[in-house]
Structures are given as structure tokens and as C-alpha cells.
Symmetry: C2
Subunit: 150 residues, 2 copies
DNA sequence: ATGCAACTTCAAGCCAACTTGAGGTCAAGG
DNA sequence: CCTTGACCTCAAGTTGGCTTGAAGTTGCAT
């Protein structure tokens, strides 16, 4: 099986080497061996990292992601929990759509103040039609990492 | 116009008073006046906070949100930029759907290791079919705030 | 008039998720 | 053989987004 060293994984995934080391340290991913000092990753790691990226983008913490997909890539959560997470995602997708539509509307609507525009108000309020006093809503904020902007 | 004091806004939005003060401090929202020492918010603030919540959930930083909707609620970004953000959201929605489907699949698929399941691999890889080496991908991570869990 | 819950300020603290820096190892190419 | 650059470890620093604590004020119901 082909092995990748950390730079190669970084290049393929956009995740920096230091982050990869950090992920390994917290048990989110694992390297399969060492070549001298150097970590060797299997190509599976690339897939795993894609999954991790999706999880982050959905607002899950690294701990939650580790729970969902196991340090080894095998999920250890009960079905019910997984389906619940999926339901959460559905709700979040609704919110995102609403925000997207709001942004598009704002870009095009010539109203002086959007807070007065009925279309705007409707867009903003629909997403709330569920989960008003509910448990989990928000997604996390990542330092916008994939862009290696320095 | 009806005025709300901070506790009332907190009750209606699920955003804690300390967070509201913080948001005001960084210029994300504004109170319209004081009643004695106490901040008074207009009911618009509730709407604004809904918007802010959506923005956070989409992974925007508070700074970005402030840019998008202005400290005063009026967006000051050029159309093009807004449409770009909307496009980003579309991409993110695709990722979220893919993650949702992956979770559901994982919940139901009896394969021993999912990394070997072709369905799984397909689900994970499709979302990547755009933006492989691209600029912005990920969404931020917020401390799971809306749930006042203590 | 008094008590008290809900507010106030300000500084400090906290957590997740990384990044940075110093100082060191090592393997492969010239 | 020697350089070079990509890797290594470990500790400390950074950033965003809040929360907490101490110490004080105040509107309002009793």
C-alpha cells in the first residue's frame, strides 16, 4: 500500500503539516508507521481528512468528529445518534439556504433599509420556524484555514 | 416603538446578556438608548440577531457578519461580493448534504469498515468534485454557544 | 422606604484549534 | 562525504468568541 509523508498529505488535502501533527496528537487521525522519524500516512488519510473537513464545515468540534468517525475511521455511535446528527444537518441546511437567499436578495433589492423590506423580513424569519428555543443551533468558527494565506 | 431590555432580548433570541454586551462592544449590534444605566434595544435587534445566528451557523466570523449586515443592519458590501458569499454557501450546502447522506449511510450500512464500502467512498468524494485546491473551504468553529448549557 | 433582581462596568480568565519557534534528525542527491 | 530541505519534538504563543467575578447602580413591587 502506498505511503505518503506528511507534506504529501498536506499537498493533497490543503491541511497544513502542523495541523496534521496536531490531529494525530489528539487522536483524530493516525499515521501508519515511520520512515526514520517521518510519519507515513496511508492514502485513506486523505479520505478521512475530507470527511473531517466536511464535519468542521458543518460546525462539529474535532471531538465530535472523532466520535462520529472513530480515531480509526470506524464510527462508534449508535444509529439513532447518527440519524439525529443528520437531522441537525438538515435543519442547518435550511438555515444556510435561507441565508443564501437573503444575501442574494440583499444584493439585488434596492430598498433603502432592508429591515423594512417585507421580502427580507420573510427570508430571515422562515428559517426560525423551527427550533426557536432549541438545543443546538450554531456552527463553529474556524480560522479559515485551508487558505494558507501567509 | 417598543423597547426591550437586555434580558428580554436574551429571552427572545437565546443569546445571553453577556454575549449581547459583547456584540455591542464590537459593534455588531447597537442599543438604541438607555433607561438609567440599562441598555434598551429595539425589536429589530431580535431580527438582526437571527441573521447573526444564521451567519455564524454558516461559519462566518463576527467580523464578516458585521461587514455583511453593517453595524446598523444595512449591508455595505458590493453586489458582487454578496453573490460570491452566496455561491460559497451553495458549495457549503452541497458539502453538508453530502455529510448528511454519509451519516445516514453509516448509520445503516452493515459493512465492517466504511472506508472499504464503495457507497461510502462515493459519498465522501463527490463533495470534493469542486474546489480541490481552492481558496476557501471550511467553516469556523464556535464554542457551541446558543445552548446555555451551564 | 426598602429590598432585591436585574442590570451596569471592567479586567481577567477560558477553551478550541491551531501556529510559531528553537533546536535537532536524517535521507537522498550531487 | 556533505549539504539541503523536509521532516521531527516540545513548549509557548495566538486568535476568536465568549464567560466569570467583583463591585457598584437602579427600577420597581411590597
Amino acid at each position: 500500500m502506498k505511503l505518503l509523508d506528511i507534506g504529501e498529505v498536506a499537498a493533497r488535502t490543503g491541511v497544513s503539516p502542523s495541523t496534521l501533527r496536531y490531529y494525530e496528537e489528539i487522536g483524530l487521525i493516525a499515521s501508519v508507521s515511520r520512515h526514520g522519524l517521518r510519519r507515513q500516512f496511508s492514502t485513506e488519510a486523505v479520505l478521512q481528512l475530507k470527511l473531517i473537513g466536511m464535519g468542521k464545515s458543518a460546525g462539529f468540534s474535532l471531538d465530535e468528529i472523532a466520535e462520529m468517525f472513530g480515531r480509526d475511521g470506524v464510527p462508534n455511535l449508535p444509529r439513532l445518534t447518527l440519524h439525529q446528527k443528520a437531522d441537525d444537518l438538515d435543519q442547518q441546511i435550511r438555515e444556510l439556504k435561507s441565508l443564501r437567499d437573503t444575501l442574494r436578495h440583499v444584493a439585488d433589492c434596492p430598498a433603502p433599509s432592508h429591515l423594512e423590506c417585507p421580502t427580507f423580513r420573510r427570508l430571515v424569519t422562515i428559517a426560525g420556524r423551527r427550533g426557536v428555543g432549541r438545543g443546538r443551533q450554531s456552527a463553529p468558527i474556524v480560522p479559515r484555514a485551508a487558505t494558507p494565506r501567509r
